[in-house]
C-alpha cells in the first residue's frame, strides 16, 4: 500500500492529533496492582474455605469409620479424670497442648498466607525514579 494513497491519508487523519497521556501506563499498572490484590485476597479466602471443607470431610470420615474407637478412648479418659485427685490437671494436660498447637497453626497461617509481603520493599518498577 502506497503511503500517499488517499485512503491511507484519510484514515491517518482520524484522531491524528490525539496521543495517550504520559501517565497512561502508570494508571493502568495501578489498576492492575489493585486487581491483583483483590484476586490474591479472593484466592486466599477460597483456599481457607477449601481447607475448612477438607478438614470437615476428614473429621467426618474419621468419626464415621473410627467413631467407636474415639468414644471408647474418651470414656476411658473421662473415667481417669474422675478417679484422679485433681481432675482439672487432666483437663489442662489435654487442652493445653491443643491450644498451643492451634496458636502455632494460626501464627503460621497468618505469616505465610495473610501477610505474604510484610517486610518486603514494594517495587513500582521504573516509578522508583520518580
Amino acid at each position: 500500500m502506497n503511503n500517499n494513497s488517499p485512503l491511507r491519508k484519510a484514515i491517518a487523519s482520524r484522531g491524528a492529533a490525539r496521543r495517550l497521556p504520559a501517565d497512561f501506563t502508570l494508571n493502568v499498572m495501578s489498576e492492575i496492582r489493585e486487581g491483583e490484590r483483590v484476586r490474591r485476597r479472593c484466592a486466599l479466602v477460597w483456599s481457607i474455605v477449601g481447607y475448612v471443607i477438607a478438614a470437615v470431610v476428614a473429621a467426618a470420615t474419621l468419626v464415621y469409620y473410627c467413631g467407636d474407637m474415639f468414644a471408647k478412648v474418651a470414656m476411658e479418659t473421662a473415667d481417669g479424670f474422675s478417679e484422679s485427685s485433681a481432675p482439672w490437671l487432666g483437663v489442662m494436660t489435654t487442652l493445653l497442648p491443643c491450644v498451643v498447637l492451634l496458636l502455632l497453626l494460626e501464627r503460621f497461617l497468618r505469616r505465610r498466607l495473610l501477610l505474604p509481603d510484610k517486610g518486603k520493599p514494594v517495587s513500582h518498577g521504573d516509578d522508583d525514579r520518580l
Binding site: 500500500m1 485512503l7 491511507r8 484514515i11 482520524r14 497512561f24 493502568v28 518498577g125
Partner: protein, 193 residues
C-alpha cells in the same frame, strides 16, 4: 540486522516478558504496555466513533489482555493478539451507542466495478475531500477493516483472523467497503442520486 531477525528478537523478548508476568511478576507487564500502548491507541482512535472514548477503550484492552494473558498461545505475534482484543473492544463499545448508519442498496453496490473505485481513488478532482466524512459513515466493522488493512498494513490473512472472518470473506467485505466509500463520496459531493 535484517527486519525478519529484528521481528524474531522482539517476539522472543515479548515471550520472555509474558512468561515473567505469568510467573507472578505483574510489574513486567509495563514493558509490554510501554511498547504497544501508542500503537493500540492509534488503531482504536481510528475505529471508534468518539475519539474521546479511545483512551478508555485502550485501557480496557490492556486490562483485558493482562487478565487473559495465559490464553495467549504464542501462535501469532503478541501485537496481533492485542489488536484482536482492541478490535473487539472498539466494536462492542461503538455498537453499544446504537449509531444510525447509512443503508445501502445491494444492487447499487453490485453495479459498481472495482475499476470505478480505483479510478476515483486515483483521481484528483476534489471529490476525495469527502473521503474522511465517508469513512465516518461506515459501520465500525468496516472502518476497522480498512484501518487494519490500509493504515496498519496488516496482511489480509491476519486481518481476517483478527476480525473473525475467513480470508475470502474479509476480501469480499473489503471490496464491498470500498464500493460503499465510492457511493458515499458521490452522495456527499452531490454526484449521485
Amino acid at each position: 540486522m535484517t527486519a525478519v531477525r529484528l521481528i524474531w528478537c522482539m517476539e522472543k523478548f515479548d515471550a520472555n516478558i509474558i512468561r515473567r508476568v505469568l510467573d507472578g511478576d505483574s510489574e513486567s507487564y509495563r514493558y509490554l504496555m510501554d511498547r504497544y500502548s501508542q500503537q493500540v491507541f492509534a488503531l482504536v482512535v481510528r475505529i471508534v466513533d468518539e475519539p474521546e472514548d479511545a483512551e478508555e477503550v485502550t485501557q480496557d484492552v490492556f486490562l483485558k489482555a493482562f487478565r487473559y494473558l495465559e490464553r495467549f498461545d504464542g501462535r501469532s505475534a503478541f501485537s496481533t493478539w492485542l489488536y484482536r482484543i482492541a478490535y473487539n473492544e472498539a466494536v462492542s463499545r461503538t455498537r453499544s451507542r446504537h449509531r444510525l448508519e447509512s443503508t445501502f442498496d445491494e444492487t447499487q453496490l453490485r453495479n459498481i466495478s472495482d475499476a470505478q473505485v480505483d479510478s476515483m481513488l486515483e483521481s484528483d478532482d476534489g471529490r476525495l475531500a469527502a473521503l474522511p466524512d465517508a469513512i465516518d459513515r461506515l459501520t465500525v466493522e468496516e472502518r476497522a477493516l480498512v484501518t487494519l488493512y490500509y493504515y496498519e498494513e496488516i496482511p489480509l490473512r491476519e486481518v481476517a483472523s483478527m476480525v473473525g472472518l475467513t480470508e475470502s470473506a474479509a476480501k469480499v467485505r473489503l471490496m464491498r467497503t470500498r464500493k460503499k466509500l465510492y457511493v458515499l463520496i458521490n452522495k456527499l459531493t452531490g454526484d449521485y442520486e
